[in-house]
Amino acid sequence: MLAQSSEAATRHDMNITVNGEVYSVRIPSRRTLLDLLRDELHLTGAKKVCDMGHCGACTVLRDGVPILSCLTLAIASDGESITTVEGLAGPDGELSPLQQAFIDCDGLQCGFCTPGQLMSATALLAENSAPTEEEIRHYMAGNLCRCGAYKGIVEAIQQAAGSEQ
C-alpha cells in the first residue's frame, strides 16, 4: 500500500522481534518504531500522545531497556527485540504482578498512559526489585498522566515489588 508514497525510493527491509515474534517488514526510513508497531504490526498498546518524547506513553522495552518509541526510528531497531504492553501477560493470559497491581491500586483512569507506565515500571523493577517511594517517583517522572492516577501508580509498583520478594 505504501508503494506509491513519496518515500518509495528510500525503503528498507528489516527484521524485528516483538514480544517474541519475528516480523520482516519493508519500511520508509523515516518510519518511527511507534508507527511501525501501531500502524503496521497492529500492536496498538503503545500509545501516541505527544509524539515528541515528552510524555512516556509510547515507552517500550528494547532488550529490556525502556525507550521512547516515538523518538526511535524503526530502522534503528533492525534485529532488535522489543517488548510492548501486549507482551507483559503470561502465555495463558495471566497478568504480571505489576499489571494486577495497577488494577488493584487503581493506578489508572482513562488508561491511555497506562501501557507506557507499565513498561517503565517493569524496567524499574527489573533494575531495582525494592525501590523506595522516592526512587519510584524519580524513575517514573517521565511518564505523565493527565487523569492524575499517580498515587495508585506508586502504590501499584510498591505492591508488585512486595509480591515478587
Binding site: L2, T44, K47, M52, Q109, G111, R137, C147
Partner: protein, 781 residues
Amino acid sequence: MVKVVKTRVEIEGEVHEETVVVEQDEPKAWEAGREFGIVGKPLNRVDGRERVTGAAKYTYDIHPAGLLYAAVLRSPHPHARVTRLDTSRAEKLPGVRAVLSRANALDISWHSGVSKLFGDEVRFAGEEIAAVAADDLDTARDAIKLIEVEYELLPFVTDLEEAAKPGAPLVHPEGNILKDDDDREGEVYTRGDIDKGFKSADVIVERTYRTPTAMQNSFETHGAVAMWEGDELTIWESTQSVFGVRGRVASVLKMPVSKVRVISEYMGGGFGSKGGTSKYSIIAALFSKATGRPVKLMLDRREENLLAGNRGATVQKLRIGAKRDGTLTAIDLEALYGIGAYGTWTAVVSGPAQELYKCANVRSNTLGVRVNLGTHSAFRAPGYVEGIFALESAVDELCDKLGKDPVEFRRKNHADKDQAADSRYTSKHLLACYDKVLELAGIEDALPAKQSLAGEGHWRRGVGIASQTWGGGGGPPAHALVRINPDGTVEVMSGTQDIGTGTKTALSQIVAEELGVHIESVQFRLGDTQKGPYAPASWGSMTMPSVGPAVRGAAADARQQLLEIASYFMEVPTKNLHIADGAITIEGRQESSRTIKELLSEIGEYMITGKGFRGPNPTQPIRTWGAQIAEVEVNVETGEVRVVRVVAVHDVGRVINPKGLSSQFYGGILQGMGFGLTEERIVDERTGIVLNANLQDYKIPTIADVPEMLVQGLDVPDTEANHIGSKGAGEPPIIPTAAAIANAIYNAVGVRVEEIPVTRRRMLEALRTIDDGRWTMDDRR
C-alpha cells in the same frame, strides 16, 4: 402508559427545562443506612484487564482494512483572509487520495453560521484551511506542505483585557463582547442592594484576580475514524457524547440519525472538551465518502492544544464586605472570561459568588470576550474553579483582616438555602464537610495563624482552606436496558460513556446489586449508539446521578420479570422469593434455591429485557459541596511552592465505589494543583502564536509533584435527588484546590498572589511587595 412531564436539569451552572417521558414507576429510593452487598464496595475496575494489557481499543487504535490517514493545513496567522489557495501540487503527490478545501468541500456552515468548514476568513492560528487524505500520515503531511496559500493579514488581538477595550481589533464584525439572543452583553445577576451592603460593611476586600487559559491535554487527542458501508456511516470518535456526535453529524451531512453509528468504547481522557462535534469528524466522513475507504483523522499534540478547547482565562474584579462580627454583607463581581475566536457561551464564573455564602446583597456580571485564539470549551467545572479561586481568596483575606478563623467565618455565613431560587436544597452537608476535613487534617479547632508555622531554612509553611459548590444532580433523559440471557448472564446496554471515570464499574455494581447477581456475570455495553438507548454526555458530573437510576430501573424491571417467571415454576408468590448470588430461593427454604440459569433453561431461548429510565428531578436544587485543606511550603529565596498535603472531603451523596471515587478526587486535586501552580497557555502577543502547545512547555503535574492526599466522600445519600442517592463526583474535587493552595501560601508568607498559576516568578514578585524588613532583596542571600 407513558406520561409526559417537565423538569429542571442543571448542567454546569446553567438550568434547562427538559420535557421528560415517564415510562413506568421508578423504583423506591434506596434508603439511608441500607446495607448493600456490592454497592459501596471498593471493587476493581471491571475493564481493568483490557486497560493494562493493551487490549482496550481506543479511537486512535481503530484500524479498519484499507485505512487512509488525514492531515489538516492550518492557518499560521491569528487573523487573516485567504486570498489564494492552490492544492494542485498536493493532489499530484503519489499516495494522496483526496484533498478537501473551500474549493470542493460541501458548503457547510460552522460556528453557528459565523464561519464554514473551510472558511475564507480565519480567526486564530490553527484554524482549518484544507485537508489531505493519503495512504500514510507522512504522505498526508508532505502533501499539506505542498498546498499554496496566500493570506491577507488582518488586525488581531489575543489579550483578554485588550480585546475588551473599545477600539480593539475586532475578532468578529459584531464586536468582541459576546451578546445573548436578546443582544445584551454580559450575564448580570443582582440580589438585594449592593451599595447598602457595602455601606454596612466594616471591612472590605477589593482585588483583581487573574486565572490562566488552561489547556486540557486529554492524553488521547481529539479525533475520529470514519467509514462508510453503503449509505451507512460509522464513526469511531474520542468523545464524551456518542449520541451528541451522532445527532450533529447526521444534521451536518443531512442524513437520518438511523444511518449514523458512533462508537467510543474506550476513551483516552475527557475533561469537557470532548462534548461537542468538531470539524475533524466531518472531514473524515467526507474523505471516506469520497474515497470509499475508512479514514482516520486524529489531532496531534500541538493541534490538540491550539484548537481542541480550553478553560478560558478570567479577570475578576471582586469586592466583598463584612461586618466586624464576620457577617458577610456584600459581594460584587465583575468578570471577563475569554471564549476564544468562536465561543458562544460564557462559563458561570459568578456561580460561587451567588451561591456559596449567605449574603443578602450580591451583584455579578460576566462578560464573554472574543480573542484571536482557539475557542474555549467546558473544562472540569468550568467557571466554578475560576470563581472559587477569586471568592475564596478574598474571603481568606477578609478573615485575616477581621481576625476570624476561616472555618468559623464559613460556618457563620453558611447558606441554608439556594438564595437565587429561594428554595432549600435536596441535601447540603457542607458543615459536616468542614468538620470532617478538619478532623482528617488533624486540626482541632482553628487553622494556624498567619506565618505561625515553623519552616526550615528558606522554606515557610502554611495551611489554607477553601470550599466548593457545584451542581452534579444530573437528570433526564437517560435510559438503559438490562437483558438476562438464558445462561443467566446479564448484559446492560446504555448509550453512556466511560471516559476513564470508572462509570462502567460503578453502574455494573448498581445492576448487580439490584438483580442479586455477581458483578462478574454483568457485561456492560456502552459507548455505542447502536448498542443501547440514549444516555447523556459524560459532563456536568451527571453520569452517575442520571444513568445510575436508569440502569437500576432497568435491573429492577428485569428482576421483577424474573421473579414472576420464578413464581410460576417454583409455585409460590413473588413476595416469598429472594434473589442473591445469582440464585432464586423461596424465603426460609434454602434447599429450594435454583440458579437463574437453571430456572431460565425451563423456557428455552427466552431473554428477559428490563427497561429503565431517569425520572424527573425534584423541584429543589441539587448540589454538591465540599472543602479542601492544603498545606504548602514556600521557598522565599527561589519562589518555589511545594504542595505537601491536600485533604479533601466532598458531599457527593451515596458512594457507589469508594475506590473509583478516591481516584476522581486524586485526579481533581492534581489538576487543581496544576491550575494553581504551573499550567497556563503562553501566547506571543506580537504574532498571536501559542508558545507552549506541547507537554514539555505546558506543565501538568508529574508523579514527582504529588502531595500526600487524604480524601473522603461524605457518603450521605441524597434520597430526594434520585433513587440511588448519588450526586456527581467528577468535577467537585478540582474546584477548591487552587484556592486552598493560594490561601495556604498567604498563610505561609503573608502575601497574596492574585494571579495564578503561582509560578516562581509571580511568587517572587509578590514576596518583593512585602516591606516588613524581613525579606527584602538584600537579605535574600
